[in-house]
């Protein structure tokens, strides 16, 4: 743990180490943040290829490209990779890069643990992806791995999946501990809690969610491991266990998990909109309290994922109303964003475009969530494409768009160069059009009764599925523009100022662009 001292005591102009070992041994928050982001990009493209293979199979009815077992492996791996490999590491990478810069800290509080929490990930995901090449194939039971499908009927590779989940859980927990320690202990003098930028606030709350629920995920996969190999019967009715118990424990983790994937997104959007509306964020304090309320509520709504397991009426009602309650703090946030833009001097650079699309499309996803929260109606929607449409609307134009918005917003600060605005806008419009063509028709086929997780479907769903597949390929291939834009921004010298954006405020815009290897060796004074 001596590294933080070294960082602070080293001369400000001391640069990074040379060679490949720089990346293995680095304890620098900027290096580690970059590695997280590159890792996430690779996983995003890999998970995206799996999504495209799913959509290709669903382009028309009948079995064309793959057998159903492989299709199931694709849906499972797509979900796991996108949730644990793309979205979560991207947010941790952004936190690594930006949290110390935003609070005036020289580095993360625990730099060596930071290195470790990143380097666990490539090994965890190598193990997970390797299951595709094992006998019996990769996990094929869906990313929610319901028992007994994931225990009694699982392929042998499930054990590798369990250990991969353990490892990524340890990585997330270490990352969360680091972020909490940084925010609570390393703020610059004068940076009080209610002056923290909202990205920092949302990440602080997210980190507490991670610490609360990742151990529960570790617990549930450990129970699976014991059921499979050590003869216990947690989820086996013959031995006195209960398969429904799995769903309760899993969703006790799973619902806070979906907020882990969206709260930092709220934070990013709350940074970007004020910058391009050239106004202070409307209702800062209410944003903080709304985030905390959403985090609290996430612990008491888990069973809305399992309305159809045969819960008693009292349970259905409780989970229905508590779920609907979440719309209140979320609505506060959406109205605050709109109020921030109201009568602002708005401009529409790429980050702002993605942020605006986030507000609109995330709200659509939120509304379909409210429809799903209605317990009696959920019996029709449950496990249909309506659910697929709902969570892709909150995760793709929600979490992913916010990450992309954040990348375009902070990329000039990271590289010192401006990205190509025209190419950025092209990327936005192709993504925006592609994402809606892909996921909007899924609402219709879902309401009409098309079940999720099937490789073949009834003929009446053919047209909308063909449309969705076309949209998916537009969206998927337009992400190559993101890769192109990032690489071009690194390579083409188009120098930018420290402030970068006219309306940008906050400590991160006071350091030069590109941000020097060591920043805030002397803590800034925040007034």
């Amino acid at each position: 743990m001596g590294t933080l001292e070294q960082t602070v005591e080293t001369d400000e102009h001391h640069g990074p180490a040379r060679g490949i070992t720089r990346w293995f041994y680095t304890t620098n928050h900027k290096d580690i943040g970059s590695m997280y982001l590159w890792f996430s990009l690779i996983m995003f493209l890999l998970g995206g290829c799996m999504a495209l293979s799913i959509r290709a199979e669903l382009f028309q009815p009948g079995l064309q490209l793959m057998d159903p077992n492989f299709f199931n492996q694709m849906t499972t791996m797509h979900g796991l990779i996108m949730v644990f490999g793309a979205v979560m590491p991207a947010f941790v990478g952004l936190a690594n890069w930006m949290v110390p810069l935003m609070i005036g800290a020289p580095d993360m509080a625990l730099p060596r643990m930071n290195n470790w929490s990143f380097w666990i990930l490539p090994f965890a995901f190598s193990m997970m992806v390797a299951t595709l090449f094992m006998e019996g194939g990769a996990p094929n039971f869906g990313w929610t791995f319901y028992a007994p499908l994931s225990t009694t009927y699982a392929p042998p590779s499930v054990t590798f999946f369990i250990f991969a989940v353990h490892m990524m859980g340890i990585s997330s927990i270490m990352g969360a501990i680091n972020i909490i320690a940084t925010i609570l202990n390393l703020r610059a003098p004068g940076m009080t809690m209610m002056k923290l930028p909202l990205f920092v606030w949302t990440w602080l709350i997210t980190a507490f969610l991670l610490i609360a629920v990742m151990p529960v995920l570790a617990g549930v996969v450990t129970m699976m491991l014991m059921d499979i190999h050590f003869g216990t019967s947690f989820f086996n009715a013959a031995g006195g266990g209960d398969p429904v118990l799995f769903q309760h424990v899993f969703w006790f983790f799973g619902h806070p998990e979906v907020y882990i994937m969206i709260l930092p997104a709220f934070g990013i959007i709350s940074q970007i909109i004020p910058t391009f509306a050239r106004k202070k964020l409307f209702g800062y304090a209410s944003m903080v309290y709304a985030t905390a309320s959403i985090a609290f509520l996430s612990f008491i709504v888990w069973a809305h994922h399992m309305f159809t397991v045969g819960m008693p009426l009292a349970g259905e009602l409780f989970f229905m109303f508590s779920t609907m309650l979440i719309a209140v703090p979320t609505g506060v946030k959406v109205f605050n964003w709109v109020a921030t833009m109201f009568r602002g001097s708005m401009t529409f650079e790429t980050p702002m475009l993605f942020a605006l699309a986030f507000v609109v499309l995330f709200t659509i996803g939120g509304f379909s969530g409210l429809m799903l929260a209605i317990a009696p109606a959920d019996f029709q929607y449950h496990d249909t494409y309506f659910v697929v449409a709902h969570f892709h609307y909150v995760l793709v134009p929600g979490a992913i768009f916010s990450i992309v918005a954040g990348v375009y917003y902070w990329l000039p600060k990271w590289t010192g160069n401006m990205y190509h605005e025209g190419m950025g806008k092209l990327h936005f419009w192709l993504s925006f059009i592609g994402v809606n063509i892909t996921f909007f028709p899924m609402h219709f086929v879902g309401l009409a009764g098309m079940p999720r997780r099937i490789p073949d479907y009834a003929l009446q769903f053919a047209d909308f599925n063909a449309v969705a597949t076309v949209g998916a390929f537009i969206f998927g291939f337009s992400q190559l523009l993101l890769v192109y834009n990032v690489i071009q921004c690194i390579r083409v010298k188009r120098h930018t100022t420290a402030q970068v954006w006219e309306g940008a405020e906050g400590l991160e815009w006071t350091v030069p662009s590109p941000a020097p290897y060591h920043t805030f060796a002397q803590p800034p004074l925040v007034k």
Binding site: M1, L4, E5, V8, S53, L65, M66, D67, N69, F70, Q73, A109, L110, L132, F133, E135, G136, G137, P155, P156, I173, A176, I177, I180, A181, L184, N185, L186, I211, A212, V213, M214, P215, V216, L217, A218, G219, V220, M223, F234, A237, A238, G239, G240, D242, L245, H248, V249, F252, F253, G310, M311, P312, A314, G315
Partner: protein, 192 residues
């Protein structure tokens, strides 16, 4: 600096402790859900077992009891109730039985797991003796009548007129783990 390190270490200790507690809490959820279901009677599990105390027989109404026998997947036994429906006054001890037959050439052990619908009725059904209390063993070709002795509490809410009692029979014969046979080359087809 040293002071900051101390603060960091203190905070990390607390957070790691929090993680360990939550890991334990994950496992604690297993009994907690059971306790919760016991207290609220929400899960349709019959918790009243053993000898019944004296009860007032309510001759003013009759309850339909439906009996269902289900084999869990891969359970080869024949398993059925001797009668599928019976009517009984609350407070009166009822007796019936289920038939089991082992058609295989092996000694087998089975466990029946009960469930009651509607769940609200579960706490008013008292099983005095039930074959589901213990494991049932059958030799090859052997059959057996498995008794069930029960009483329905006269406190049963008026609106419940029919109770369904279902048993699922599981094969719990100790055996080597079945080999996973579905090692199809699913990848190959996709790649070619």
């Amino acid at each position: 600096m040293a002071q900051l390190q101390n603060e960091n270490i203190k905070l990390v200790r607390k957070l790691v402790l929090g993680c360990l507690l939550m890991f334990g809490f994950g496992f604690a959820l297993v009994p907690l859900y059971d306790v919760f279901c016991d207290i609220t009677g929400l899960n349709g599990k019959v918790t009243r077992t053993g000898p019944a105390g004296p009860m007032q027989v309510d001759r003013s109404r009759e309850i339909n009891l439906q009996l269902i026998a289900v084999n869990n997947e891969a359970m080869p036994w024949q398993f059925e109730p001797i009668t599928t429906t019976m009517t009984i006054h609350p407070g009166l001890t009822g007796q019936t039985a289920f038939l089991a037959y082992n058609p295989t050439g092996q000694n087998m052990i089975a466990q029946a797991v009960p469930s009651v619908a509607p769940a609200e009725a579960a706490e008013y059904l008292q099983k005095i003796n039930c074959f589901c209390f213990e494991r049932q063993a059958l030799e090859p070709g052997q059959s057996m009548e498995m008794p069930l002795l029960f009483v329905i509490d006269p406190e049963l809410p008026e609106h419940i007129t029919t109770i369904t009692l279902s048993y699922t029979l599981f094969d719990i014969t100790p055996q080597l783990q079945a080999n996973y046979s579905a090692g199809q080359p699913s990848m190959r087809r996709f790649m070619l």
